[in-house]
Amino acid sequence: MTTPLADFRAGLVAVFPTVAAAVPFALILGQQATAKGLTPAEMLAMSSIVFAGSSQLIAVGLWSMPAPVAALALMALLVNLRHVLMGASLSGKIAHFGRLRFVAAFLLTDEAWALSERRALDKPISRTFYFTVALTLFVCWQVASVLGTLFGAYLEHPETFGLDFAFPAIFIALALGFWKGARRTGPVLVASAVVAVAVHATVPGAWYVIAGALAGIAAAVVTAPHEVPASAGEATR
């Protein structure tokens, strides 16, 4: 077992690169929101109530006055559907959180989920680790997105600095941690990548994440070694 202080430190170390990637993203989000006429208070409301980067950025792109409420809500649902898959995978690993799971769910992001799954490969996910990661991201997200509404005009072409590449770079590095050999993980990666790229090129919206993930897990099930359940063997004795 690890101590809460050690878990707190591990959480801070783990979350640091994702904060470095999320802050420029949030600054751009704030800047775009200002351009659409949203106030800093509205930005803060959105960042704290929705707290989901991609859907917020797409929402700001779709925003008009008066706000298209139904279209924005449906878009948020579709873009964030991937959370269902993430939650299903993470659930058993944080079962010991008890009622705090409902708070943990509110703070679930791609980053907090990926770092927790990575952590779960080596150690159990403690409350301290999860909430250190998730709350740090939450606070930085609020601060940076509001700062973006105030100072965003100075950050017009962040892609020149390669900052948009921080997010995929983190995920590539984290994905390597799930490698369990070419036979087990290879088919998952190939199926997921091919289907995600194909759907991304042909279907508008965020369906490619769902489609790619489903293709990946289908590949895992199809190529899994045929296991004989131990209980079945005993029952026939």
């Binding site: 993430m86 995920f171 489903l214 990946g216």
Partner: protein, 99 residues
């Protein structure tokens, strides 16, 4: 510092539906089996989702593909923060040179 009521309604609707996607996975996972094909599928989920998110970004152009390859190699040797820093610098330099 003002909040328009229609804007707030949109934000609230987005927030409620987003929370539903977050809690739904936790709620259905408790009813899922601990072994067999469903378990295999759930275990494969983290890498499958990560790759589905990354692949279209990395395949969006030759610069992204090259920078992605650099990150892949570096991530085997360097800590995460150094990998990300070099990856970002690589993307920026390649864009400066060829962009």
């Amino acid at each position: 510092m003002t909040i328009d009521p229609v804007n707030f309604a949109a934000i609230l609707a987005m927030g409620v539906l987003t929370y539903m996607t977050r809690i739904l996975g936790f709620l259905i996972a408790d009813r899922l089996p601990k072994s067999g094909p469903v378990r295999v599928a759930l275990d494969a989920l983290p890498p499958a989702v990560l790759v589905a998110v990354i692949a279209p970004i990395v395949m969006s152009g030759p610069i992204e593909a090259a920078a992605g390859l650099v990150v892949l190699v570096l991530a085997l040797r360097l800590p995460l923060i150094a990998t990300v820093a070099v990856g970002v610098a690589t993307a920026a330099l390649l864009r400066l040179a060829f962009g």
